[in-house]
Amino acid sequence: MIVRSLFFATYRDMAGHDELAVELPAGSRIADLVAGLRARGGGLARLPESPVAAVNMDYAPLATVLNDGDEVAFIPPVAGG
């Protein structure tokens, strides 16, 4: 299956792009996606081990099982207002 990873602010600077399509085995969780991204090296190696994530625009724990086509956003500390 393929999921879309989105990066914002400091994470976007680390990743070097806004988004990345990632192929994962069925049944993978957000934590597996994070481990895979960190293992790519480069700037993504600096992605935290336990970042805040949202799946399809809802905050979701890292144990959340992903589905094909999910949009997984990594959310650095927010600073709106």
């Binding site: 905050y59 927010v78 600073a79």
Partner: protein
């Protein structure tokens, strides 16, 4: 959408305070309160020249609407409209506006406070400050609370 529905928007365009207020009001309301958050010229003693806001716009709108719905249910106000700017803002420009219409004033004050505090805690928006000395930095923020159980 009913005429007095809550509303949330993330926009690159300047926010119009009069439209925010009139948009939230319905004939049932006796007051409307506007929170008007603007870019100021210093942060922790450093001179700020401009601020650049970026957002996960679709999620930010959903989350702001959720917060407006929570505040309205909790305090029993009328419509709550929330707007957040993105892009490059100069000192004095509004970055966020919250209009709360209400039959009575006390509820409006409570709801307005609730919306801005929650917005700062959980809406996916980020800002990068440019300082008068030429430096640029992402402003450290709040780590949103994540539910322990998956939503679906």
């Amino acid at each position: 959408m009913s005429v007095d529905a809550n509303l949330a928007s993330v926009t690159p365009d300047p926010i119009d305070p009069a439209r925010m207020l009139s948009g939230a009001l319905s004939p049932r309301d006796g007051a409307a309160l506007l929170f008007w958050g603007v870019v100021r010229n210093e942060h922790d003693g450093r001179g700020v020249s401009s601020l650049e806001y970026s957002a996960y716009a679709e999620m930010a709108e959903r989350e702001m609407l959720r917060i407006a719905d929570e505040a309205r249910a909790r305090f029993g106000t009328g419509a709550i409209h929330v707007a957040h700017r993105t892009g490059l803002l100069q000192v004095g420009e509004a970055s966020v506006a919250i209009a709360v219409a209400s039959p009575h004033r006390a509820e409006a004050y409570d709801a307005s406070r609730y919306v801005i505090e929650e917005l700062k805690r959980r809406v996916p928006v980020w800002k990068r400050e440019s300082y008068v000395d030429g430096d640029t930095e992402w402003v450290p923020g709040f780590t949103p609370a994540v539910p322990q159980e998956a939503a679906s």
